[in-house]
Amino acid sequence: MRLELRGITKRFPGVLANDHVDLTVEEGEIHALLGENGAGKTTLMNILYGLYRADAGEILIDGRPVQFASPRDAIAAGLGMVHQHFMLIPVFTVTENVVLGVETTGPLGLLDRRRAAGKVREISERYGLEVPPDALVEELPVGVQQRVEIVKALYRNAEVLILDEPTAVLTPQETEELFEVMRSLRAAGKSIIFITHKLKEVLAVADRITVLRRGRVMGTTTPAETSEEELASMMVGRAVELAVERAPAQAAEPVLEVRDLVVLDDRGQVAVDGVSFEVRAGEILAVAGVQGNGQTELVEAITGLRPAVSGSVRILGRELAGASPKQVLRAGVAHVPEDRQRDGLILDFSVADNLVLNTFDVPPFARGIVRDERAVERAAQERVAAFDVRTSSLRAPVATLSGGNQQKVIVARELSRPIRLLVASQPTRGLDVGSVEYIHRRLLEKRDQGVAVLMVSVELDEVLALADRIAVMYRGRIVDVLPAAEATREGVGLLMAGGSLEEAAASA
């Protein structure tokens, strides 16, 4: 099936989200759609999938114009979408999830589970998509859940699969497996639209690449004709340094010492299981790991947001396990939280107020209980300039800023105080290439000024680019701490998936 988008234009109040976008996906092609966050990729796919209606332009399938009023029409026409956040029911089995909505029924309208399971098995064998038809979805790892989503689309006879940021949740090994699946789908004549902002992946798997920027197509190319640098500059609109330059670390005295820390998650399960490590002044310790292996709880325990069951957290020799967030931040700890919109910002508050969110009650921003708004405004002006925050006004609600600029507001706030320890959790998640580069430089700058930096990231590239030492976390434990010089993508990837270094060495 050949899919063609012609002149798709979509306007939101005040914004042109898609501006005459042309995109052709041939049969049996993996077509990567590359762009920064907010470049219009998701809008375009939502139009294609019948969720939005385009203001102008047309969609052609095998040369015939079609119109989708809802996803139902799109699915009927042979489109399948795998969303970034899976649309699965955890307590249903794989088969039940796959057939949901298009159930095969026997006589009396009863669900024919056996036939359905058979078809699921058949699809999974044909495309190398291993899924256990009778397992409950909630018991499956993320990578397998994703395969269930793909099976679901194929079960509905999808000819064109849209994969929205499919690798965001996967380990490097799972990503490699996904690419294998994509290649076998291609071999079977299916087309795939692969949405991503990761350059390496695009070059590894795509046949053709279309780059979107600010709602416009910047060009279409092939991996053979292009390079990471060229793609990055097409995405951002200027030359980008992909690798930050860095001097070797000058690690000094330990600033953060964590000993035998045990922390529970929201459900009362042990999430951090006896973790010990230290971070020294002037070094970056990166905690690598697949999402959900206890990193979130570890950071929350260090910053006082979550009580520790046992163990010790010392900052500059002072015991701070069980301290309040305020005590921790007054001890010189900066925190760039994982979920910036939940924990880092008050979206309805102004940029200025967010820039002093944890210093609003101390001089010069307050005298007694009276706020000094002029001092707040002055500081905000300086910080906005120093950290290159793009905003229309200091009084604008921070919600009106782009994701990258919101993150800069947090970074500006946290780095403008005198600090000894910086805890940065997923500091560049969801940010565009330009902002990532900027935030990385700021983290290194703080390291070079003698701040101890604890960075948690699920992005292996980020870990390898910034870390002086890498602690790999798996199922609540730190399985190993490697000096960055000895770490390889493959080795760290294996540790993240629960393997050992011996296996890593064997596989190398």
Binding site: K10, F12, P13, G14, V15, L16, A17, N18, G38, A39, G40, T42, T43, N46, R214, G215, T303, L305, S324, P325, K326, L329, R330, H335, P337, Q341, R342, D343, G344, L345, I346, L347, D348, F349, D353, L357, N358, F360, D361, I369, V370, R371, E373, E377, Q381, V384, A385, D388, R390, T391, S392, S393, R395, P397, A399, T400, L401, S402, G403, N405
Partner: protein
């Protein structure tokens, strides 16, 4: 908060957020934000001047218009004319217009037509200013205080006790003591739901509603005790408060100095919310408790403090009534002040100035309804209908916007029907 001059930043910064980001914002981000907007927060934030001013005013206009229809269809004369619509269509319209004009003229004349009418209107409005402020204060910290009624009653218990038992003190001191006692009584009553929420997570909507009943029956019980009950009466009524607010507006009208006190309290609340660190913390907790906690603030402490202060403000409303209108505590002491306070806080968009304006409107409607009935035989209940319509339209800003084809303010969901919040 006054709009400040926009600070333009140098460099190639786009005038607003990069457009591509907003494209996405139209979808997912708004949805994500909507989940976080609590009912109370929606009444308060994320709204421009349009939401704050235009929508409430238009809501009142629409409510009066719909109220006019109700008047027409419940009055005999226009109905008779409408029956003969095809014989004389103009007369039907004319008769309808006459009835509506008469009704609203009587209403507003009765509320504002003379010095005495105005004084009575303001007198009715004062307790509503207090309860409106009480509810609005909670809103700003993300708390839905349905308990102003009970807090006012609790304040009344303590304030009346102080008022009749502090004999032998100079007058002004007694007045001060009654006000303070009203505040303390209401604050204690308000602190309980705050504590329950902080310690156990019990939702303040439930606990405050329940405590309204407790306060009401507690008052009823106390009125039968020898300490409270007036010895010369058999019905449940307390001994009268010995002092009263001075009549600073002349002796011909009942309006008293308590009106100025109420305005002062409104100004004080505005100052605390807009100019102090505690007010900032309250609102931060209200807008996003997670981020507030991460920034070192204490949501649990805020719950207790805000509920206590909100209760205290409601309790001061009770002191005002004892010192200005009804010197004795009776079972019907609060004629729904606390519940009207919720409507007033919503109509006033949880801002002190808005609350004062909304309370005045309610005063006009309540006070004017009496002359409405006297002059036109239209039942006072029409005012209840209009009040309900006002609340309906205030609670559904998108409806008002649709009627008047207003554009959405900042493009963020500001409706009150978003959810109960955490």
């Amino acid at each position: 908060m006054p709009d400040r001059e926009e600070v333009r930043l140098e460099g190639p910064a786009p005038p607003v957020a990069p457009p591509e980001e907003e494209g996405r914002a139209a979808g997912e981000e708004v949805a994500a934000a909507a989940e976080r907007v609590t009912l109370a927060a929606a009444a308060v934030r994320g709204v421009g001047w349009q939401e704050r001013f235009v929508v409430p005013v238009l809501a009142v206009v629409v409510a009066l218009a719909v109220g006019a229809l109700v008047i027409v269809f419940t009055s005999e004369e226009p109905l008779r004319e409408w029956a003969g619509f095809f014989r004389d269509p103009l007369e039907a319209l004319r008769a309808s217009g006459r009835v509506v004009a008469d009704a609203y003229l009587a209403l507003f004349r009765g509320a504002l037509g003379s010095a005495n009418a105005l004084s009575e209107t303001l007198l009715v409005a004062i307790p509503l200013v207090y309860t409106g402020l009480s509810v609005a204060f909670g809103f700003r910290a993300g708390l839905f205080n349905i308990g102003a009624e009970g807090q006012l009653t609790a304040g009344a218990i303590l304030a009346s006790a102080a008022g009749f038992s502090l004999t032998g003190l100079p007058g002004p001191l007694v007045v001060g003591a009654v006000v303070l006692a009203g505040f303390v009584g209401g604050a204690l009553w308000g602190a309980v739901p705050g504590l329950l929420k902080a310690k156990t997570g019990a939702h303040e909507v439930i606990t405050t509603i329940m405590l309204n009943f407790v306060a009401g029956f507690l008052a009823l019980y106390l009125l039968q005790t020898a300490f409270f009950r007036r010895p010369d009466r058999l019905d449940p009524i307390s001994k009268p408060v010995l002092e009263a607010f001075p009549r600073v507006f002349g002796t011909g009208v009942r309006l008293h100095a308590g009106f100025l006190v109420a305005l002062l309290v409104a100004a004080l609340v505005a100052w605390v919310l807009n100019r102090t660190t505690v007010g900032f913390e309250f609102q931060a907790v209200g807008a996003n408790p997670d981020a507030a906690r991460a920034a070192g603030m204490s949501p649990t402490r805020t719950f207790v403090v805000v509920m206590a202060l909100a209760g205290g403000i409601a309790g001061m409303g009770a002191a005002n009534q004892l010192l200005g209108v009804t010197p004795s505590l009776t079972p019907g002491f609060s004629s729904g002040f606390g519940f009207d306070g919720i409507a007033i806080a919503l109509l006033g968009r949880a801002r002190p100035a808005g609350v004062v304006a909304a309370a005045l409107l309610f005063g006009i409607l309540r006070n004017g309804s009496r002359s409405l009935q006297a002059a036109t035989q239209i039942p006072v209940d029409i005012v209840t209908v209009i009040t309900a319509l006002v609340i309906l339209f205030v609670a559904a800003p998108s409806l008002v916007r649709a009627i008047f084809r207003l554009r959405r303010g900042a493009g963020r969901p500001a409706g009150l029907g978003v959810g109960w919040g955490p």
